[in-house]
């Protein structure tokens, strides 16, 4: 196994990304409003947290560097193969990425199309994606679960949930 495929190497990359993030976050805190009379500024606490995070990121960076340069024992957990995040070589990661995109679309369409329709669509797509092919099960489950959940939240817990195109259904339930 190549060194670049080990968990130690992944940790090294993670620590570099985290260090960049910490530098960016620290520079952001410099723009926070300053109160002349205050003993503790609004930026103080976030800055302490960023410094704390940076200290342990540097430790992770150094640990990874030492392990990669000096070599690791076979039983070292960092010597194992790291998890893949490449959607082009790993179908599972591609599917996970697809679910993330679906979730983002779900959020964007939640208000416009309503909870029941968006949830039913997302359920059908995910079930199909992960290999459930029995439409007699997929469709009723995908429709009934959001409908029942909507009814419980709306009627019993009085949470007003966007219904979008199913608005007439809510009016009907209200009338009943």
């Amino acid at each position: 196994m190549k060194k670049t495929q080990t968990k130690a190497f992944t940790n090294l990359i993670c620590s570099i990304i985290l260090l960049i993030f910490e530098i960016w976050a620290y520079t952001e805190t410099m723009d926070f409003k300053v109160h002349k009379r205050a003993f503790v500024q609004p930026a103080t606490f976030p800055q302490i947290m960023i410094c704390g995070m940076a200290i342990f990121t540097v430790i992770l960076f150094l640990q990874s560097c030492i392990k990669l340069t000096r070599g690791m024992k076979p039983e070292d957990p960092e010597n194992e193969m790291s998890a893949s995040i490449n959607p082009f070589t790993n179908r599972g990661v591609a599917a996970a990425l697809f679910v993330i995109i679906l979730c983002i679309l779900y959020t964007l369409l939640f208000d416009k199309l309503g909870y029941v329709l968006v949830s039913a669509c997302v359920s059908v797509i995910i079930m199909w994606l992960i290999g459930k092919r029995d439409l007699k099960v997929i469709i009723p489950v995908s429709i009934l679960v959001p409908l029942i959940m909507w009814f419980i939240f709306y009627k019993l817990l009085t949470v007003n949930i966007p219904m979008g195109v199913f608005q007439p259904l809510r009016d009907l339930v209200d009338k009943i």
């Binding site: 976050a25 976030p46 947290m49 342990f56 992770l60 979730c103 959020t107 359920s123 992960i130």
Partner: protein, 514 residues
Amino acid sequence: MNWSLLFESYANVFTSIQVIGMAFLGSLGGILLGAVPGMTATMGVALLIPFSFGMDLIPSIALLLGIYCGGMYGGSISAILIHAPGTPSAAATLLDGYPMCQKGQAGRALSIAMFASFCGGVLGALVMTFLSPMVAKMAMKFTSAEMLMLAFFGLSVIVSISGKSIAKGLISAFFGLLLATVGQDPTYGAKRFIFGFRPLLSGFSFIPTLIGLFAIAEVIAGVERIINGEEKQQKSEEKITNVLPDFSTIKKIWPNIISGGLIGTLIGAIPGAGGDIAVFVSYGFNKSSSKHPELWGTGIPNGVAATESANNGCSGGAMIPLLSLGVPGDAVTAVLLGAFIMKGIQPGPMMYVNELPTVYRVFAALMLANLTMLIVGCAGVRFFAKIVSLDKKMLYPIILVVSLLGAFSINKNVFDVGVCVLFGVIGYLMNKFEFPLSPILLALILGPMCEQNFVRFVDVNNGNFWEILHRPIAVGFFLVSVATILFSIYNQQKINKKESENRKKANGEVSRIP
């Protein structure tokens, strides 16, 4: 203590059909509500307050306490079965509960959670009955210095829940503390990390974050596992002969139940600190004091018992300052305070003088609520345990849509659904690269408490932080925190060494196979 009045009050409560019926109804509702990610006991109590308008005080309090106790246990059901804590107080239950479920011991985990929850609740109720004036007096000595050090003590537990890499655990924790600063600064109202995005002014809501980190991340990872053929379908082959844990299990877990219950009660008695903090403190304490800390997190009954007894122990603890001083210990007791006032009773020191029979009946109602929670829980264990045998290909989409609805329902805001998805992605990536998630959660709970008390203390003392050395309770908390950190580091090193030896042995055996 007026013993005859106490027994009379218990007898009154335990023989009233109306009170028993309300406690049952509350427990059932609480368990069902708690099991839905996003629905908390606070929400349940708040929703049912209007229904209790027409009732007498004790039946209405029994109903609300039933929801409170039921919700505490209910949160563990989804934490154990689907890796999505129903309530923040069940966040630590999944550390051992979910691995137990993966081992095919879902029913056992649920029965342990229920039994520990009951014992913790009873312990809390007993402490409340006998020690409430004393505990309340101690808890009220807490100023910003003690609260700051209490938060620090809570954070010291992070080392023991960090897993293999302490550095990664602490990075997660500081990241969580940083996330807790997003929004308006609590003292001066300065905007921090909001990038002109107004919904961020109030920061990230805790519950959508919790649901995202655990439930959504689990769905994304589950889909990946199914596609890669790594997901094993769990079948509920476990025969649940007893809905309560057997004697040998109880023998193993009772020290964890007692310590968890006491930790929960003490932390619950401190205003502002609730079950969400207590469960992590109890988990960390019990893990550190265990002879086999390496087994914690792999799915052992002790982990479930330690956390569940702590979260329900809090219910008794939180009632202590409410009744003794009129100060609610947590969000649920704040709503309960409203219920008392609504009935014309003002909780506080004078309640022990003017309304002693009512105080004793509230003690009895809490005991009854725990008992009804146990009965309702026993009846449901077999049913709940069947959930794991549902086809994962159907279960994951259902978890997704129910969880996202739970995230929405907190503030009725689509922004929270977005936050939930964002943290789902963060949780998925962190899991992939073995950064532990629990420290983020603990940091999000303790971050605001830590910052507010830090700022308050420094301001009150004109910038002199070292004044804290003159506060003995705060110094005590600090020393205990340092001891906890050192002991947890020592324990973790022991665990890593043992694991490394096991790997070495396993490698040696593999190389010997011709």
